[in-house]
């Protein structure tokens, strides 16, 4: 693994940890999801450079299209939670309690 592979791999891991150790806001967790998508886009873009295969360059664009759909769905949930709970604080989403 070269140093640049470590770079996007660790950015993905840090964003995943930031999503797991969320604090207050739902939108901070959605931003961590976006950062995971960004590091996956970089990884998929560097792969055809290593293999010198041009047909693999359509994979990151396809992934970006689906991540745009996912971001839109996440923001719609953010708006829905602000409408019902008054804010996007994650400790308000407490219906499923054991």
């Amino acid at each position: 693994m070269s140093l640049l592979h470590l770079s996007f791999y660790s950015a993905f891991t840090l964003s995943g940890l930031g999503l797991a150790f969320h604090r207050t806001h739902l939108i901070s967790a959605l931003l961590c999801l976006e950062s995971m998508m960004l590091s996956m886009y970089l990884a998929l873009s560097i792969w055809p450079i290593k293999n010198q295969a041009t047909s693999f360059t359509l994979t990151p664009v396809l992934m970006l299209a689906f991540s745009a759909c996912e971001a839109g769905a996440g923001l719609a949930m953010l708006v829905a939670s602000t409408r019902t709970h008054g804010s996007d604080h994650l400790h308000n989403l407490n219906l499923l309690q054991c």
Binding site: A11, L14, F21, S28, L31, C32, L38, S45
Partner: protein, 173 residues
């Protein structure tokens, strides 16, 4: 050029770190913008400029703009920046995770592999546009100084032309 690409990769991780420590969303978006801009610069340096442009247009210009104005739903009365002690604790923990990853992956001596671009690679690889513009400092130093002097002169020319109160050249407005 290799050190520049390493710097861009390091800034990418720093942007992700500043965002994963979950400050107030106003500051988290700054970390994400830094990470995506340095990621685009990284793809540009490796040679896949179209992927970089697609990332700029779709990700920064489309998705992040929507995120930035949705951040207005998350208004805090006292927003926490990276100097708040809670955010500092999270970011120090993530720095520990990074250091463990670097040490376990064997990168303390293993950084000598260099970068690999679309048409070459190694520790001393330089692309065509990087090596051309860097000639500003070696062969083209005369034109470099002339251009810098011209820009400084233009600053003062503009300041004098728009000075309107008592000594200006243009008085209509």
């Amino acid at each position: 050029m290799t050190y520049f690409v390493f710097f861009l990769g390091f800034s990418f991780v720093l942007g992700g770190l500043g965002m994963a420590s979950n400050p107030s969303p106003y500051y988290g978006v700054v970390g994400l913008v830094v990470a995506s801009v340095t990621g685009c610069g990284w793809l540009l340096s490796l040679g896949v400029s179209f992927m970089s442009l697609v990332l700029f247009m779709v990700y920064l210009g489309g998705m992040l703009v929507v995120f930035v104005y949705s951040v207005s739903l998350a208004a805090d009365p006292f927003p926490e920046a990276w100097d708040d002690w809670r955010v500092v604790g999270y970011s120090l923990g993530f720095v520990v995770v990074l250091v463990v990853g670097v040490v376990v992956g064997g990168f303390v001596e293993g950084w000598k592999l260099g970068v690999e671009t679309v048409d070459g690679g190694g520790m001393f690889s330089v692309r065509l546009d990087f090596s051309g513009v860097a000639m500003f400092y070696s062969c083209g130093v005369g034109m470099f100084l002339v251009a810098g002097w011209g820009l400084l002169l233009t600053l003062f020319v503009v300041l004098e032309v728009v000075r309107g109160l008592s000594r200006g050249a243009i008085r209509a407005v």
